[in-house]
Structures are given as C-alpha cells and as structure tokens.
Amino acid sequence: MSKIPLQFRHNGRDVAIFVDGGTNLLVALRELIGDLTPKFGCGQGGCGTCSVLIDGELHLSCLTLAETVAGRSVETLDGMKQGPNLHPLQRAFADHFAAQCGYCTPGMLMAAKALLDRNPAPSRADVVEAISGNICRCTGYEPIINAILAAAGGRASA
C-alpha cells in the first residue's frame, strides 16, 4: 500500500509527513508529528479532548481525515505558549485551579481559545456554549468557566 504525502502548517511551522489512507489527524499529530498535546478520549466526537484549531476554527482531530488539512494551518496546545510565556488562558486556568487530572485541559484550552479569538468579551453563556463539546469529569466545569471569563476580562486571577 502506498502512503500519502501530506504537508501543512503545524503551530506556525511547515511539516511534511506520510500518512496511511484513512489516518485521522489526531493520530497524525501524535504519532507522526510527535505533538502529544491533543488526547484520545473517545474517537467518537463526544469528548473534545482532541480539539485543535484548523485555520482558526475549532475541530475534532479524531474525526478529521488527516489529508484534508493539506496546506492548512493546524494549531494545538503545543503552540499556545508565546515563547516562554504562558497564554493568558493558561495562566487563568492555573490561577483558577481549573485542572485536576489534566486530560481534558488541552481540548478545553483550544475550545476557549477558539472562543476568545472571535469574541474577546464573552458572556458566561458564551463560555458555556464554547466548551459544550468538551467533557470534564473532575472539576464540575465551574473553575473552567471562571478561568475563561477571567482570561477574557484580562484579570487572570482568582
């Protein structure tokens, strides 16, 4: 069987890999690029742990056929830090203790980023809607909602 060549931008850097037919973007990122920040949670589109931004839009990498991102820009949590500095969302998640096991955190942060990139001053309802595709089993969501609201308000503190 032949592998399919695939080039795209990964967190601002051009990457080129070869994928098998049917490979999803999550597998391509984790196993071929080595970016382990998106996580496998269900493979069904139900948990959001594999969330990434494709051309700035929130997508589920497990349901994305890898070759459909050819020539496009893929952002993951691995690209969220600005150099050595944490993104305001990351700081707010820390300040609000918005992570316990940490497994949903990469997806939550990407969903939050997708929201704030478009809507820098969201309401609580907007935040709730923005993370509605992401499952968290530990926190009860409240600290996550508060962290995103705080990051938007520029006051990344408790």
């Binding site: 049917g22 999803n24 997508h59 509605s132």
Partner: protein
C-alpha cells in the same frame, strides 16, 4: 488492508465511485464516517470525497433556499439570511461539531442525532441526489423512508421553504444535558398563516420513530384554524398519533409519548 481515499473534482465522478463500491462511504464532515473507522467498522474500505464547489454553495435568495450538502452548521449560523435555521443549527453538537458536521451528513445521522433534519422536514425540504444517471430531487420524507438504501447515493443539496416570518417557524430540541445533549425528542413546526388561519401546517418530530417523521394528526388539528389555546391543545393531544418511538439510553418510548404533546403545546404557545 488500509483504507483507500478517493478524491474527485466533480460530484459526478464521486457518485460513480460510490455506486460502484459497496465498501465505499462518502466523507462529509467526518462525524459519521471517521467515527465508524475509529471504532473499527471494517465494512468501510474506501472513502470518497468530492471537492466540487457546488457542495458548499448556499442560495438563500428566494422563497425556497438551497444548501449544498457540504455546508456546515457553522456556515448556516454565519449566514444572516438563514436566521430561521439558526436555532436548529445551534442545537447540533458543540462548536467543533458545528464546524465539521454538514447539512448533508445530518440526513444520514441515526437517532439520537439528525436534529437539523427535523427542521428541514417541517420546511418541506427536498433532497437533490446524484445517482449513477444524473440528478434527481426527492421529497425529504421519502428520502428518509428509504435512507438505508441511499448509502450508495450522493446527496448534492437540500432545499426548503423559507418561512414567511420568524413566528411561522419554531424549533425545539429536548435534551437532558445543557447546553449540548442528545435529543430526547426534537420538534419543529412550520405554521404559515393565511388570512389569520394556518395554511399548510407542518409538524416534524425527531426521536419519535426510527427516522424523523411528520406528525400528520397534529398538522390536521392545526390546519385552517387560528393558533389559539384550543387549537394548540388539540394539536398537542394529537402529537403522539402515528408515532412509534423506541427505548434508548436517553429515554423510553413511554416517556417520549408522554411528553411529545406537552412540548408541542409549549412550543406552539411560546412557553419555555
């Protein structure tokens, strides 16, 4: 054996590839086909894609609007001329699913999915299907009844009526989980008013039968009447007629029968 991906420039070629290979599935937004692959569905060994511009076209100019099968829910939400479809589009998935899931794919989504299709059914939708020998339009209701046999066909677009006013079209998805959850039942009502009377009422229900269905008895109770309390009550009590809901993880058949009238009454009378 790995999966083969076949990408075509035109829908015609894609349709040909689909109809000639029983193990081929058309890849829309990925929420159905990629999930099946992830879960080990080995009956799929070919993925067919088409990059035809026609699939992502939106024509919202006339009294009937047309959505390319590849139009995502996020695009529906971004289109001001499609405001009447915003509530149903918003009820699908979370933001990521709305960025991926398509109008065409929703036609194939089994219970407890397929909510957008409920809205389309109430709006007298037709489905344009590309077969081996060209395109044909099928009424959505007919399409749904033969859905199992449509997997070799390629949906090009869906057309539906634009309601005359915001009041004339109502939609509600009853879910246990907020703001995003699977449908317990889904309701859509198109109530065109002519001279103060309802003319051409369409009530569509999701999760009340193996596929989305029309509630014809409720439609009859509304037809030719004004939307007053008595009419609404009559429609609500007729809502369950002709339905055949099942038990599933989200609710039982009994429960669905019990609440469909309550929710139809609330929908028609504008209650929360």
């Amino acid at each position: 054996m790995a999966v083969t991906v076949k990408t075509f420039a035109s829908v015609g070629e894609a349709a040909g590839a689909l109809s000639s290979d029983r193990s081929a599935r058309y890849l829309g937004g990925g929420t159905l086909v990629m999930r099946a692959l992830n879960e080990g569905d080995v009956s799929i060994s070919t993925i067919v894609r088409a990059q035809d511009q026609a699939l992502t076209r939106i024509d919202a100019s006339g009294p009937r609007i047309t959505l390319g099968a590849g139009v995502t829910f996020a695009r529906v939400l971004a289109e001001r001329d499609l405001a009447f479809l915003h509530t149903p589009a918003q009820s699908i998935g979370g933001p990521a699913v709305r960025n991926m899931g398509t109008v065409g794919g929703n036609l194939f989504a089994p219970n407890p999915y397929g909510d957008f299709t409920v809205a389309l059914l109430a709006l007298d939708a037709t489905v344009a299907v590309q077969g081996g020998f060209g395109t044909r339009d099928i009424a959505l209701e007919e399409f749904l009844q033969s859905r199992e046999r449509q997997s070799g066909a390629l949906v090009l677009s869906v057309s539906c009526t634009r309601p005359a006013s915001a009041e004339a079209f109502r939609y509600r998805k009853i879910a246990r989980i907020k703001p995003k959850g699977g449908s317990v039942i889904t309701l859509a009502a198109h109530l065109p008013i002519s001279g103060g009377r309802i003319a051409g009422a369409r009530i569509a229900l999701g999760s009340m039968a193996p596929t989305q269905i029309r509630a014809r008895a409720a439609e009859r109770a509304l037809e030719g009447r004004s939307l007053d309390t008595a009419t609404i009550a009559a429609a609500a009590s007729a809502a369950v007629e002709g339905t055949s809901p099942s038990d599933n993880a989200l609710g039982s058949a009994w429960y669905r029968r019990e609440i469909v009238g309550v929710h139809l009454r609330r929908l028609l009378s504008g209650q929360e």
